[in-house]
């Protein structure tokens, strides 16, 4: 029995499709209704959770394996896991975004940066050796510059259409993001072969 926590939504869909293609029985998951925990014929027990909670379940040893975006890993303070596979799906990137004037503008005061990912933003500016004020927003971070709360934002860019619609653009790329398979360290000592099987399937190898 291998226990998996998977980020609800797109990651769940993509990973389950990959596994189905490799002959895993994913029907109970494709046909689930509102269940939060499902067991399949291949001895997989899967729970569906918000991305941050996937890491919490992994950290406490409730699950052996987690599927999350690397954005969640970067923002989390927990780092005692194995990151065994980059699935190279759900690709997007973190970027510093602002109105085009930002590039030329000379700031005599601390810049204000809005982000949902305050740790990622803080680390990015630390690398640039810039001292900025970081303001946490929970959603629609683009509002920051639009309403004049912040000078720029650090956010995930997928298609860039929200940016465009609001006159914002990518100033600098911060980091690539994709879906990762993470493993609880102790689980790996006990369930290596089952975990290998999963990794090989996801890599498209037998």
């Amino acid at each position: 029995m291998i226990k998996i926590a998977i980020t609800k939504g797109r990651i769940e869909k993509q990973v389950c499709q990959l596994l189905a293609k490799q002959g895993f029985d994913m029907d109970p998951i494709f046909h689930k209704d509102r269940e939060l925990l499902i067991e399949t014929k291949d001895g997989i027990q899967m729970i569906f959770a918000k991305s941050n909670d996937v890491l919490t379940f992994l950290e406490h040893g409730i699950v052996d394996v987690g599927f999350v975006g690397s954005d969640t890993l970067m923002e989390s303070d927990y780092d005692d896991y194995y990151e065994m596979l980059d699935l190279e799906i759900g690709k997007c990137f973190f970027a510093l975004c602002a109105y085009p004037e930002y590039k030329e503008k000379h700031f005599e005061r601390r810049k204000k940066i809005a982000s949902k990912y305050t740790k990622v933003a803080k680390e990015y500016f630390a690398r640039q050796r810039e001292d900025v004020e970081i303001i946490k927003l929970e959603g629609s971070v683009e509002l920051g510059p639009v309403v004049g709360l912040s000078d720029a934002i650090v956010d995930i860019v997928e298609t860039g259409s929200t940016l465009k619609a609001n006159g914002l653009e990518v100033i600098d790329k911060v980091a690539d993001v994709s879906t990762r398979m993470v493993v609880n360290k102790v689980s790996y000592k006990y369930k290596r072969d089952e975990i290998f099987k999963l990794i090989n399937a996801l890599k498209g190898e037998e």
């Binding site: 950290e59 303070d77 927990y78 194995y82 065994m84 190279e88 493993v183 360290k185 000592k189």
Partner: protein
């Protein structure tokens, strides 16, 4: 509102729920085992100069409970036992073999709301002045004897080697190696090897490492693809431990194990229970620690993380009910 009448501080929550009876019974098993092997029990101070740790250990400064004392010096609640014991040994002005054991708490500030305790109860031993195979063997024998006396069902005993890691570091010359090995990040290793343009046996070894964890056969197979003498020496030291082990079936090997402190130089040991999300025991050879006190003395030791162990044992009981 007088909250203090019914709330305890967040730092204390886990400590309050420890099963004291069980803790004391494990402690007395360990104590009599250590005593019977000639280990002298130490009572160490609770307060230390913060500098003692900051100079030597990699801990995040923010993780210590620090105060300014009457002299205006920065002091901290004990964050570890090994460093104060090294100091005690140094103050004894000897280079003879000394055997010490200890029981008590170390204090580390934890992330909020992570369900981790700030008061960590440890029990362990340090063997100073005995290097090489003999010292390793004595330490391993005590690890195994103690695991058996506590009676952990389905334990795993994992060996790694600091020399193996440090040699790789020298060969690779890139700080990212530590992160990649620690995370067994296979995909990152691939792009890292490509980017650095490694070739030949080093390339082959690096690509295999993230998936190299396994039993003695897996470890021996790794020797076939290695042609570096120091790396091979490290593996042979691990195999020598396997040969004298009384827990061969439970022993696993991790060549990706990364030393958490700079002073580790040799065999590293971790113990696991199926019912815990963390190691219940950890230790290793640290021949470099005494060099911070300008002394060259080999040493090895291990300690039980008793909070984690107690939790694992109670989960095990629940599962068997």
């Amino acid at each position: 509102m007088e909250e203090f009448k019914y709330l305890i501080p967040e730092e204390s929550t886990d400590a309050a729920s420890l099963d004291a009876t069980k803790l004391r019974s494990i402690e007395s098993q360990l104590r009599s085992l250590f005593q019977s092997h000639g280990y002298e029990e130490l009572m160490l101070p609770t307060f230390e100069y913060a500098n003692l740790y900051q100079e030597i250990r990699n801990d995040n400064e923010e993780s210590m409970f620090e105060f300014v004392n009457g002299e205006g010096k920065l002091i901290t609640l004990r964050a570890d036992f090994t460093v104060p014991i090294a100091r005690l040994y140094n103050n004894a002005h000897t280079s003879a073999t000394r055997r010490y054991s200890y029981f008590g708490k170390v204090y580390r500030i934890q992330e909020r709301h992570k369900g981790r305790s700030s008061e960590l109860y440890q029990g362990g031993m340090e063997l100073l002045g005995k290097g090489g195979y003999e010292g390793d063997a004595e330490c391993l024998a005590l690890v195994e004897a103690s695991m058996k006396s506590i009676g952990i069902t389905n334990p795993k005993l994992e060996l790694g080697h600091a020399k193996f890691f440090h040699r790789l570091e020298t060969l690779v010359q890139d700080d990212r190696l530590r992160y990649i090995l620690d995370k067994k990040a296979n995909s990152r290793m691939k792009s890292f090897v490509e980017e650095k343009g490694f070739t030949g046996s080093l390339k082959e070894l690096l690509l295999k490492l993230p998936y190299s964890f396994g039993d003695i056969e897996d470890l021996k197979k790794m020797k076939d693809i290695i042609d570096d003498d120091i790396l091979l020496e490290a593996i042979d030291e691990m195999i020598a431990m396997y040969d004298i082990s009384t827990m061969k079936e439970d022993m696993v090997f991790d060549l990706c194990m990364v030393p958490t402190q700079n002073y580790y130089t040799g065999i590293m040991i971790k113990g696991y229970s199926y019912y815990s999300a963390y190691a219940i025991l950890s230790g290793g050879r640290y021949d470099k620690l005494l060099s911070y006190f300008d002394k060259e003395v080999p040493a090895i030791g291990f300690s039980y993380h008793l909070n984690t162990l107690l939790e694992a044992l109670s989960k095990e009981d629940e599962a068997n009910d």
